[in-house]
Symmetry: C2
Subunit: 555 residues, 2 copies
Amino acid sequence: MSAGKAVKTTPTTIGQYLIRHLEEHGVRHVFGLPGDYILSFFGLLEQSSLKTIVSCDEQGAGFAADAYARVAGLSAVCVTYGVGGLKIVNSTAQAYAERSPVIVISGAPGVREQAKDPLLHHKVRGFDTQRRVFEQITVASVVLSDPQTAFDEIDEAIHAALAHKRPVYIELPRDMVHVAGRQKHRRVDRTRATDRDALKEAVSEATAMINAAKQPLILASVEIHRLGLHDELLQFAEKTGIPIATTLLGKSVVRENIPLFIGVYEGEMGIPATREYVESSDCVISLGVLNTDLDTGLFTTHLNRGRTISANIDGLAVRYHQFVDVPLPDFMQALLKADIRMRSPKGLPNPESPSPFQARPGAPMTVQRLFQRINTFLDDHTVVIAEPGDALFGAADLMIHNDAEFLAPAYYTSLGFAVPACVGAQLARPDLRPLVLVGDGAFQMTGMELSMAARYGLNPIVIILDNHGYGTERPMLDGPFNDVQPWAHQHIPALLGAGQAFIIRTEDELDRALTSARKYTKGFSILSVQLGAHDISPALKRLTESLGRRVAKKT
Amino acid sequence: MSAGKAVKTTPTTIGQYLIRHLEEHGVRHVFGLPGDYILSFFGLLEQSSLKTIVSCDEQGAGFAADAYARVAGLSAVCVTYGVGGLKIVNSTAQAYAERSPVIVISGAPGVREQAKDPLLHHKVRGFDTQRRVFEQITVASVVLSDPQTAFDEIDEAIHAALAHKRPVYIELPRDMVHVAGRQKHRRVDRTRATDRDALKEAVSEATAMINAAKQPLILASVEIHRLGLHDELLQFAEKTGIPIATTLLGKSVVRENIPLFIGVYEGEMGIPATREYVESSDCVISLGVLNTDLDTGLFTTHLNRGRTISANIDGLAVRYHQFVDVPLPDFMQALLKADIRMRSPKGLPNPESPSPFQARPGAPMTVQRLFQRINTFLDDHTVVIAEPGDALFGAADLMIHNDAEFLAPAYYTSLGFAVPACVGAQLARPDLRPLVLVGDGAFQMTGMELSMAARYGLNPIVIILDNHGYGTERPMLDGPFNDVQPWAHQHIPALLGAGQAFIIRTEDELDRALTSARKYTKGFSILSVQLGAHDISPALKRLTESLGRRVAKKT
């Protein structure tokens, strides 16, 4: 953020200022649903450069905005008070957990209306109930009830979203939308200064460690995505010849078909060769990694802190000591310039390239064969969006062609993300075509948000892994609660007035449907792949056995 | 709650105790979706008398549970941690606002797992984030992490739900489900004692006021529903000959075809004759009324506190003075026994009885004619469930045959309620057939929860008022954000594998479809009624004009 930049002196309203801020940060779409408390702001959005994207339910808007923020660096979701805002608590919580900077803009009753604390529709307990809820799941929450401070509060909230890469909450009482803010407002630079001396020492120590190491390794993850450091990461690896592994949450921080990429490291869940290489490294350069249960294969990873350089948004550690105010981007830039010796490692455990897929006519589909086939289908312009469950675990082994072409909530793991997310992702990156991998259970949550794709002319390919229930849970504890009512997905295009759909039982049917989907670019394609109720990927098998041991069993 | 009742001494686990409590309070169904943190409790539910009802998305379970609580007096919704719990914040907030006692049971990571604060999937900020959120929207929130206190906490939470008629939150860490609680546990009677002297004084004052009045009137609303005082209300009216009006939120606290019923009072929104009668009363006996904006026609009601007796769950007022610890049920019982003189009021403004409907072949459907036709369709076994919007406002004029046969969130007004609510309502009262009135916009939010109806063999009749958008908002401020992607609803039965559907453009088509729906009892019927984008009911016209004036307009 530029320091002390003066706002032009024509009277600017609070609503206009908020919109201008979003525009300046490259936001081009706002997701949401109208309602009387936010209606005048929707009217104002229509007059701006921002395009309003209306979802079926607020939940869909929340997930679409989460995906948009992951791809574009910032997003906004705009909802009415109470019945709108409280529907996106879960999607906002996910954005918090996985560092996705979503601006939640909620309407509210007017300041004057609230004065005598009347029972206005959409109110829960007090008029501050919604803000109190969002306080728990955002890094800043402001209510723009005072024109003298409103611009400052907008600055502060958006700065917080960008600095922490986490959601913020802006509540806009409806009688404040068209009120002028403080016209002499100047933006204050809120950026914390880098401690240059600390940075120098950290880089010097890191350089020495790396140069002394026999088998250094980069382990890169989600924060590299959020900070947009893909190019720097690749340059650093190529300049030094140090191989890269990623974690599941960070999959595709680097394109996966380069010689230095050695796979997704996820402890016992992952591919053994990758694991062995990572765990035998004598210097792990950990960049933007969160040590979540799923990213560590349920804490089955074994990394020695005494051999690790660990850089994150929230701090930097070299071995056992911490550096304050050394941001990850500065550290990466400094590493790029550091005197690190080039090496040419041999025999790296690169993931297998997709092997040509020969469909066996009439052969029933299996999860394993499905992912083998998808792997041959991906190209440079595919963004894979994987729903938690076997869609995600199976997708870990797909070879992603370019950086930032894989999206999945691999830590918070909320079901219902993938379909609305594909709308957000394609609007943020119209050059990419989404390939959505979603289970039949999750599809019933938000799959009808394909209605958004129909409305806004998008063309995702949606592959439903239809195994008739919550397949991830069956190995832990099965019962009728894991079953899902069968849906005949072939009828969705007729219902939504767009798209095409296929029911796929055999390998040759899959082949034909994928060929058709590739050609059919004017709308969405649904490929409902019929799988056995107990057919799961090898990765999921390993995971659920481990999870199952943790579900308290009756003795 | 009975005082000091001993729990039998065989070792009872925390999970079993919770289930037994629900059973004792007449709960027969639990709504929800499984997830690994709640899975073992789902397993336990399977072994109990409670039937688990699985929805498409947690939101649907939340709304179904809200409706179930309104009809049956208590309900439970059971979800996993984070991704489950945080999806039902909105439905729980509605239950809070409209006094619906829903027990939210959420799984959580085990107490032992949480010990070192690791990044476990579904965690947001801290392990207490979800509880902190629910604290804002419930009257009790407990975490059953200590076997020594767990039974007490369950008692306390369920007592709070029943006493306040509001939701409570019970978090059950997964390693506590099968742990035995304190076996010497005794339930403590938490009921606050009625102040008998205060009650006596209040009833004496009320009796004098009523007997001195020329035109006393009962205004009854939602809390009568929640306290199950329908019979007492009717007896009181019939014993004294005092006429009854209701508010929108309390519609059907009394059956509407009795001579003493004079309509729904809602200020300028309502029928003028009802309004005149109510406002000319010299003694209003207000029973369980919440003075919300929609119930007061946006605060256009005119009642003089100096002529009002006002009894609520939270307190009793006679004219300008308050009585503490005089509960509404005790007050009603005492009023029934009081020496109030019988009268025989003449010329009451009874709502018009449904007049025979003659379909005009080929005549396009209008909102007004739709409601006229529906009015002739209702019978003693129909429960009308109205979604906020014109479905609700138009439904205000329907004549409901029996008490408690109308359900609508007429204060909090969350869209997405009606379809999942019909599942909850019909499971709670299998003798009733739901008639759902829902807009096309709201249907896109949760309409696919008809999947639940298909799965559990229910047969609601769902009338979609398809006016191609958010019709309630168009008169306030129109724009493309008020449009909704058209859905061809006739394809839903094929998609869900159940039910039948009709697209209705004319009056004779409506006639035929209703006749068919009446006969077709094995599944749901969808009647998608095609309406003009700007065709709204007279009540909505009055309301939106008033609301529109409050939407801050750009000058």
